[in-house]
Amino acid sequence: MSIVTVQLGQCGNQIGFEVFDALYTDSHCPQGLCSKRENEAYQASCKERFFSEEENGVPVARAVLVDMEPKVTSQTLSKATQSGRWKYGQHSCFCQKQGSGNNWAYGYSVHGPRHEESIMNLIQKEVEKCDSLSGFFIIMSMAGGTGSGLGAFVTQNLQDQYSNSLKMNQIIWPYGTGEVIVQNYNSILTLSHLYRSSDALLVHENDALHKICAKLMNIKQISFSDINQVLAHQLGSVFQPTYSVEGSCHYRRNPLGIDWQVRPPLPGLPTLGKASLNRGLHFNMSIANLVILRGKDVHSADLGGFKDSALYTSWLEPINAFNAWKTHRAFSKYEKSAALVSNSQFLLKPLDTIVGKAWNMFASKAYIHQYTKFGMEEEDFLDSFTLLEQVVASYCNL
């Protein structure tokens, strides 16, 4: 089953390149720490998901590159081609001349409708190359204009056109202390729109990635390239093939197949009584946790700590909320590696902060004229705020 990736804007395209590079490099890694047959199955599975075959044997990424100005996409395309190992499709790129000016309204209301047909056609072509489509992976930032605004528009279109396929958006949360002054507006508009059309939002914060580079990897002068590579490494360890739970030797077929959306119980039902091992420690409440283990001794790893009911909200039993995928094949030469994907209150504080800042700015009416210029109204902002306050409240009540 294949995933079609849509890379939007400077951020989306820069990250997209690193992700495909990490996926390719890992799948062609000779030291898989497993049998040759297993390694070959892994490679084949990875290839089917992310690459299609070109005539002269160079794999072509299953990706569509979109940007409203040409510098980044042309760089991305040439970097891939020059590597000689994999590349992007010759006609997989859509770009314009002028950029979105960090303006969500411009990306959503002007670029979106104007280029809808061309972009959706490109995506369609990529989908047709897949034997069976498992879903879409959309990489975008929230702070700018193209990734955020056009990204929201494209996701909506994907929802309409491919309602049976999963759509997962990789969104980049900007640095807290400003990369773009209107980033809070762009963020709340993006999030509120994606909530209505995306199936899952996978979030990475620049601040967190930056800390990893500084504290864990000890890099002195951190560049966006470093940050993007950390991100790509994390995504690779989640999306590379894994065994299905039954323990058979086939790799799990649907890489996006987790029940990402969980609904709280209807009011009136009794909450389940819990006995917890770790009273007194305050955890961010989780709705769902997925642990992915790769490498040596995966089957003997002790995952008891993840099953502690203190981690989970009162209306969920850990057994329903926790999943583990295990694979012998090592990732990226690491003898043992683990990845955790979590749907929890972890993002509550950053979300609340962004909503608060955007609200303060909105109350002063600052920058609103830049958005209303392109057809947006104050109503649209209010709708977004309302939706996100509901999300904040829901997570708060876990």
């Binding site: 400077q10 001349k97 580079c213 966006f224 002063s364 600052a366 920058y367």
Partner: protein, 475 residues
Amino acid sequence: MAQSVVVQVGQCGNQIGCCFWDLALREHAAVNQKGIYDEAISSFFRNVDTRVVGDGGSISKGKICSLKARAILIDMEEGVVNEILQGPLRDVFDSKQLITDISGSGNNWAVGYKVFGSLYQEQILEKLRKSAEHCDCLQCFFIIHSMGGGTGSGLGTFLLKLLEDEFPEVYRFVTSVYPSGEDDVITSPYNSILAMKELNEHADCVLPIDNQSLFDIISKIDLMVNSGKLGTTIKPKSLVTSSAEAVKKWHQRPFDAMNNIVANLLLNLTSSARFEGSLNMDLNEISMNLVPFPQLHYLVSSLTPLYTLADVNIPTRRLDQMFSDAFSKDHQLIRADPKHSLYLACALMVRGNVQVSDLRRNIERLKPSLQFVSWNQEGWKTSLCSVPPVGHSHSLLALANNTCVKPTFMELKERFMRLYKKKAHLHHYLQIEGMEESGFMEAVSSLSGLIEEYNQLDATKSMPVEDFPRLSIAV
């Protein structure tokens, strides 16, 4: 990639413009070693086959044949434009893109705006349309002029309304040189205030500059060049003034060195749009991020470093010094002290070997000493362009929307009132058809309104930052 057209008006505008084109050519020559006409060059230059007569000569790709600046030169006297056309840059300008007259505007805004405006309106429109036709995607007009004279001030601002009507979707960035206190043109306050009204109403973004600040910066550089301190040899091509020669001669021709600083400002402003980098910033992002309310579009700029010392090792401390300098009042291009006033928004445009961690470290370091308006506490816009300016390994352009512009405007108003109370020289203006005293009153009122906006913002400086109550949701 999008293109920009430069419209240089009056003596000041054309002299600065000339420096700009010279620097732009040098920058592209340094970056583009193979002589291929690429997207970056096309933002400011056309590629023309000069053997073809008439308009058909444009070449869009391949080797560079002959570069023509996307510029329109306007002056109501011939001296300056003629000098340019006889100088080393003569082949860069398209001879059809000039509008000149002989008599000049007599340092009278009304002559520039009303008389020459109506006289040359059709011609100006024709040249503008021609320039636009030569562009794939025209994004921005850069207007360069001075405020204190007659042509740059009057005709230069007449142009703004024309541009707004004819090309409403194209940005209008204006670089305006404001008269300093000791300006020798007596009527400069009148001209400036009349021009300010037009800037308030029809410009997207204004970068005010004043000659005194440029002069002070040159003096500082001169001191460094001639100080002979141990270890302070300056790298030859690294001066913001573009050469040590310019600095040495500056006592006779101070404006050359000063104009180069403004030219550098324009180059650095557009560098992230032209060249690649890990965090690009296009021209339309400048307005989007730095103009929170339509009237408050005046941006104070500062450029660092002003020169690079010859020793090759650039430790982090030097880099951090560059960031600190950008906020010091000595580096601002108008008389202003942003550190002690209120920031509405700030952009840091970095070029060269600087990474995101350097940016973050410096923002965190400097933020505590700066005051930002309550609704924009993290009001930073940043960009990283990989290509440094010629002769430097890195550089920084800071653009601030800050209430520190207020004193400049208040002084201008005071100088105006001193003249106006006595009705001095007013008849020169009122005798021009279409000019009435009400015009003056409207202009002052427009400026007063602007000053009041800044006053209200300043009043919030000492107030504690309170969050607005959030929406409460029933879950």
